[in-house]
């Protein structure tokens, strides 16, 4: 009905409904703006006396001017500089035909910059060709447009329309003159232009195919490499919609719209755009063989694969699985091994995301990818294998060897993206092993490395997951050292680089929350830590549960904490999340301490220790040893405790967090004191002063973190020691410090002696 109605009043031959893409194969056409660029080029090639510096500046401008969207004359003059053009434009307005005739033909001018193969020459040829193709009415239209283009700049509201007219008067004797251009009409037009309606349309014309392609390429590149520099999602979508309105067949725009809506996690539009893109792609590839390597059979496979990837991104694993199976089936039917490899690598990724073991699949994928000479997929597979191996406790040297081999591969094929990932992964592995120095070094390596990828549009690639991971690690490492100023700076950078709606934002969100939580816990401000638990749980369930248990434990709600820990342990054992298992065990052991079940804690700790050693988790191993030593101390074997403690002391001091260092030293001091108690008097004095010294060091670490509760304990112990040693002055000083802190803090929650 609508269609019938449309033709009710007007010409039934109306064709503005559907626009066929590029019917005439025209990629570019002449617009007033293009003419201005031509005029600029003309000036630059013909009139030589331009200062060298000025010339350089203009030369740099040429490419962006040629490729960019149409500017108004005002904008154009602002970029180029007023001095040019005025005369030439006037001449141009007088006789456009003559201008095009006098343009230096690229075929003749061999020695000039406008030679036919140069960028400028190519542009000129395009323009000349497009101009020569125009019919008379089109030329007329172009001329009118040019006039309006010029007048819109120089007939500002301030100047009365009668003012321009040096030109308007001259117009009359030109071959392309408009007779209707009466005064009254011009008045009316001015009036119209001041109305707000359609203002945006006025300012910018449609993009030509070339310009559109350039725009899409640029935005896509920016989305990939530095999202913040790309247009805002809403603005970009507007632009794309606009483009699609004028040319619905411009398939790439649909793809960009898909990417754009992925940015804002909009599943409806992204699915829609993706499918639309592939529908369109199938059209454009239809000339090829129906099912061969090229042609639309191929795009069908990749369509299904992309759909799988999309569902993967949104966490719809079942949907992703179905789509992937479809892609695999079609790829198999048409013997497309490359596509199959891509499918396989998605398959193991999917399995991994679902939390099941996929190492066999991954190994297969690596082998096949190597066989089909797909270095990217192969080393991606190896990286995934390394990740799985690290979690499953493969020996470190195997992993590092594998990483090294893939690195060689990366450098050979200049896969810069994979190099980044590899560095990030090494950082993570070192961090997991508890070697903070190595981790830091790798992180710095990535941050300071100049990327292999060429720098387009002045943007370095720095918004990949690898960078996010590394920066998060750095933040956490700094937090461990108590450098909270640096931490907040890093986090601020992360926030800028990865705005909250983006894909990798969850990484830093979790990292930020963890740091805040740890800080609150260390300060003993449990009420501050509690709200973070919910936020963490939203981002990572296991982590959230663990932190919840910690808070409950700290608040002395032992039963609840215990049940959560039990649940968590079962879950982690099922998913083979070793780090968490060990941490849960340690927390459980601490719970046992609180009920004075030191003996029951012991087997648990030993189990944890063996697990940590088996997986080379040095930081956790040291932590376990600390716990072990404390248990032994409480069980009354301080000699043993001190012996065990010495084993852990070195790695803790070398790699551990400041907090751990303090705790280790405090524990050591307590062991020393206890041992000294059993020694004869002559030795006791020396031992006690040693303990006092250790305590001093511990106090230094704690004060670095401003951890007042622990400082209070330390000062108390110090005061007692100094008292025993008869050092009254020191004793009084420590006592005073203790007193100050004690007044400031509430009564101690747990007994001092009962805590590590």
């Amino acid at each position: 009905m609508a269609s019938v109605h449309e033709s009710l009043y007007f010409n039934p031959m109306m064709t503005n409904g559907v626009v066929h893409a590029n019917v005439f194969g025209i990629k570019d056409w002449v617009t007033p703006y293009k003419i201005s660029v031509l005029a600029l080029l003309y000036e630059m090639t013909t009139s030589k006396p331009i200062a060298l510096q000025e010339r350089r500046r203009l030369n740099k401008l040429i490419l962006p001017l040629q490729q960019g969207p149409d500017l108004t004359l005002g904008q154009f003059l602002k970029t180029v500089g007023e001095c040019f053009l005025h005369s030439i434009t006037l001449a141009l307005l007088k006789d456009m035909e003559y201008f095009f005739a006098t343009l230096p033909t690229p075929f003749r001018a061999i020695d000039s910059e406008a030679y036919k193969t140069s960028v400028v020459g190519l542009f000129m040829r395009h323009m000349l060709l497009a101009y020569n193709k125009l019919s008379f009415s089109q030329v007329y239209k172009l001329y009118k447009a040019l006039q309006q283009y010029y007048h819109s700049q120089f007939a500002q509201p301030g100047v009365s329309p009668v003012g321009i007219p040096g030109l308007a008067a001259d117009n009359t004797d030109m071959d392309l003159t408009s007779t209707e251009d009466t005064m009254g009409e011009r008045m009316e037009k001015d009036e119209l232009d001041t109305t707000p309606l359609h203002e945006s349309d006025l300012s910018r014309g449609p993009l030509s195919q070339k310009q559109a392609e350039y725009f899409l390429a640029r935005q896509a590149y920016l989305l990939k490499n530095d999202e913040n520099k790309a247009l805002k999602p809403a603005a970009l979508q507007d632009e794309l919609n606009n483009m699609l309105k004028f040319n619905p067949d411009f398939a790439e725009a649909h793809y960009l719209s898909y990417l754009n809506s992925m940015r804002v996690q909009d599943i409806f539009i992204s699915t829609h755009s993706l499918l639309h893109y592939f529908d369109r792609l199938i059209l454009s590839g239809s000339e090829g063989k129906s099912n061969g390597d090229e042609g639309y059979g191929r795009s069908l496979r990749y369509a299904a694969l992309n759909l799988a990837a999309l569902h993967c991104r949104f966490g719809h694993y079942q949907q992703a699985d179905l789509a992937l199976q479809e892609a695999i089936r079609i790829a198999q039917e048409s013997n497309d091994h490359v596509c199959l490899q891509h499918c396989l690598s998605w398959l193991y990724t999917l399995e991994q995301m679902k939390g099941s073991d996929s190492s066999v699949l991954t190994e297969d994928s690596v082998k096949m990818a190597a066989h089909f000479c797909l270095p990217y997929l192969a080393s991606l597979g190896i990286q995934s294998l390394v990740q799985q191996g690290a979690v499953q406790g493969k020996t470190a040297h195997e992993l590092m060897d594998a990483m090294k081999e893939t690195d060689i591969l990366h450098w050979k094929h200049s896969l810069s993206e994979l190099i980044d990932i590899s560095l990030a992964q090494t950082t993570s592995i070192w961090r997991m092993y508890g070697k903070s120095t190595m981790a830091q070094q790798q992180a710095q390596l990535l941050l300071n490395m100049s990327s292999l990828e060429q720098v387009n549009f002045g943007v370095h690639q720095n918004n990949t997951e690898a960078f996010a991971v590394i920066l998060c690690h750095l933040a956490e490492l700094h937090a461990e050292q108590g450098l909270y100023g640096a931490v907040s700076e890093i986090l601020k950078h992360l926030k800028d680089q990865f705005p909250p709606h983006t894909q990798h934002a969850k990484l830093w969100m979790l990292c930020d929350l963890k740091i805040q939580f740890d800080r609150a816990m260390n300060d003993g401000k449990y009420h501050l830590a509690e709200p973070h638990v919910t936020a963490i749980a939203a981002l990572n369930k296991t982590e959230g549960l663990y932190r919840k248990a910690l808070v409950l434990k700290a608040l002395n709600r032992t039963t609840e904490a215990y049940s959560i820990l039990q649940r968590l342990q079962l879950y982690c054992e099922k998913t083979k999340y070793t780090e968490m298992i060990i941490r849960v065990m340690l927390a459980t052991a601490e719970l046992h301490w609180e009920s004075s079940g030191f003996a029951t804690a012991l087997p648990l700790l030993l189990q944890a220790l063996s697990l940590a050693r088996q997986h080379h988790l040095q930081a956790l191993a040291s932590e376990t040893i600390l716990h072990l030593a404390f248990t032994q101390l409480m069980l009354g074997v301080p000699d043993q405790a001190l012996g065990v403690l010495h084993e852990a002391m070195e790695p803790v001091l070398a790699h551990g967090a400041v907090m751990d260092k303090g705790r280790a030293l405090l524990l050591a001091a307590r062991c020393q004191v206890t041992i000294a108690g059993a020694q004869p008097d002559c030795q006791r004095h020396a031992a006690l002063s040693l303990a006092a010294q250790t305590l001093g060091e511990a106090a230094a670490y704690f004060s670095m973190l401003d951890c007042k509760e622990r400082l209070r304990d330390v000062h108390y112990l110090q005061a007692r020691l100094h008292h025993t040693l008869g050092q009254t002055a020191e004793r009084n000083k420590c006592a005073m410090l203790f007193r100050l802190l004690d007044q400031e803090l509430p009564a101690p929650g747990a007994a001092v002696a009962m805590r590590l």
Partner: protein
């Protein structure tokens, strides 16, 4: 309803009004409104001489402008719009003012169309605008705020606003126009195009006039509220418009929309009798003939239309349908293409062309056609469904789910989409979803009567024999109750399964009944006989004392008076 009747009671009055509005519209060159009103006036009894309405009163201004107006109107009729506008520029009368503005508007439109052909580049095509619109808007809005616009000028103002995509303002102005001049059908029609849902319709305050009923009926058809639309049209017919071809065609289209093919066909035949040279709506008619595979009728229609005017979109569509029915799909596609050349916004042709390409197994061209159809109208469920089918043919069941879902969203109560969804889910081994789809398809009224069968088979596969049997029973009842003999083979499978099912569950009476029924079908006869034999064997064993030992035939006499879920006695297959 009583109010309606009383309103229509005075048909003479209505006729008078129509006649006067016809002359008004004619003076102003609003040809389509003239056509509509004339059609309606023709349907009413002629007036006696003394009842004829007097010609419109001439004002002083009209007299002054008479010559200029006459000259301009002649130029206008010859499509020299700028010239017409030039001579009207000084006129003072309302009539001349309207024609002045209208010619400027049409001149802009004409230039726009001409320019589309040689615009500077493909991307600029969509950019071509009617340059006159903005000026017209400024002038009209000035007059509008001064309250100087009459009904026709208001209508033009509305059209200008709509063309500038100022839809909200346009609706207000059109409502004002209908108040100012309720009899101008063009304003109503424009309003109809701007209303997207029933809430919006209810919120409008429209003039209380007999023409409002025509509008409401039209609106209900557009909003797919077919029942209400039919009711409205029926009451209009009862009120005395029974001869109106407009109403008949609208009712026929409405029946077509709810797939009541017989009714629609009858109405279209009536329409053709009354108005044999009518081309409008004939594409819908041909769709109906196509669905019913009525080759001779369709061929006759095509011949007839070609004779009348072969360069009409409708004619091309009819010919396309004709070739499609004769399985000459290349030619069919060619004619749909021609239709699209005549009017690229012709939605139906895009979809139909897609179907033709599908028949030719040219999937990529089909996808292109469907995508175009969606571009023209996003709510075209047939195109979405077609896209789904294309991908299904390409063996991508997961991929086509999206398209079927879209189609289903647009037509939630259409069983075909649901069955298609169910089939895709079944292919993806998502039996739970598939079952839901089939069941829903059955509940909304299955057109093809396949949903239950598929559901039953699905249950059968999943070894849910009770559910399967239940579905088969409903299926058989359904098939027999609808009277037509559709697929014997499928009935026989149902019977076969039911026989086995009852046999397993030791309901021998029902089992034997099913087995006998099986014997009516060729492909199941042997099995039916075998089952009967088995049943009698079992009976022999269990009831050796039983009286009859006549073998298979005996069960024929066994009275089945127990309450059986399968009571087929009343139906003769």
């Amino acid at each position: 309803m009583a109010a309606l009747c009383s309103e229509f009671g005075d048909l003479v009055q209505i006729k008078k009004q129509l006649i006067s509005v016809i002359s008004l519209c004619k003076e102003r060159g609003l040809v389509h409104s003239v056509k509509w009103a004339s059609e309606l006036a023709f349907a009413l009894d002629p007036l006696p001489k003394n009842e004829l309405p007097p010609p419109a009163i001439f004002t002083e201004e009209d007299c002054q402008d008479l010559d200029a107006f006459g000259l301009a109107k002649s130029y206008f009729d010859l499509k020299e719009y700028d010239r017409a506008a030039y001579f009207l520029r000084g006129c003072r009368s309302q009539k001349a003012y309207f024609l002045y503005m209208y010619s400027r508007y049409l001149s802009g439109e004409k230039k726009k169309d001409d320019e589309t052909v040689d615009s500077l580049g493909p991307l600029e095509k969509g950019q071509v605008r009617n340059e006159a619109l903005r000026e017209l808007r400024v002038e009209l809005s000035k007059k509008h705020s001064a309250g100087e616009l009459d009904g026709f000028a208001l209508y033009l103002y509305g059209v200008v606003l709509r063309k500038l995509d100022l839809l909200k303002e346009a609706v207000d102005v059109f409502v004002e126009a209908t108040h100012a001049l309720p009899l101008h059908w063009g304003a109503w029609l424009e309003l109809c195009n701007l209303i997207t849902n029933i809430e919006m319709l209810k919120a409008l305050s429209l003039p209380d006039c007999w023409i409002k009923d025509f509008f409401m009926a039209h609106m209900y058809t557009e909003l797919q509220m077919i029942k209400e639309a039919l009711q409205k049209y029926q009451s209009l017919i009862e009120a005395g418009f029974s001869k109106s071809t407009y109403i008949i065609s609208q009712i026929a289209v409405a029946y077509h929309n709810i797939r009541d093919i017989d009714q629609a066909l009858a109405l279209f035949n009536e329409l053709r009798e009354q108005d044999p040279f009518r081309i409008e709506n004939m594409d819908t008619f041909s769709n109906l003939l196509y669905v019913r595979s009525m080759k001779p009728e369709l061929s006759y229609l095509a011949h007839n239309l070609v004779e009348i005017d072969k360069y009409r979109v409708e004619t091309c569509c009819v010919i396309g349908n004709y070739y499609s029915l004769r399985s000459q799909h290349e030619k069919a596609a060619l004619y749909f293409q021609r239709a699209l050349k005549l009017n690229p916004r012709c939605l139906g042709a895009w979809t139909l062309m897609g179907h033709e390409y599908m028949e030719m197994k040219n999937t990529s061209a089909a996808i292109q056609a469907y995508r175009h159809a969606i571009e023209v109208n996003k709510r075209d469920y047939r195109a979405w469904y077609g896209l789904g089918q294309t991908y299904e043919i390409l063996k991508m069941p997961f991929y086509c789910l999206y398209y079927y879902r879209k189609a289903h969203q647009l037509r939630p109560n259409d069983s075909r989409m649901l069955v298609a969804l169910g089939e895709s889910y079944e292919k993806l081994s998502q039996q739970v979803e598939a079952k839901k789809c089939y069941w829903r398809a059955y509940s909304v009224g299955d057109v093809e009567r396949m949903a239950l069968l598929k559901l039953a088979k699905l249950h059968e596969q999943l070894n849910e024999s009770d559910d399967a049997a239940q579905c088969y029973i409903i299926y058989i009842q359904d098939i027999f109750s609808c009277g037509e003999q559709l697929e014997h083979a499928e009935v026989s499978t149902a019977l076969r399964y039911l026989g086995q099912y009852y046999f397993k569950n030791k309901h021998y009476d029902e089992a034997s009944l099913c087995a006998q029924r099986c014997c009516d079908y060729n492909d199941a006869r042997e099995e039916g006989k075998a089952l009967l034999r088995q049943i009698s064997q079992v009976r022999d064993q269990t009831e050796t004392s039983s009286t009859d030992l006549f073998g298979p035939l005996s069960s024929n006499n066994t009275p089945v008076r127990r309450v059986s879920p399968l009571d087929l006695s009343s139906f003769t297959p």
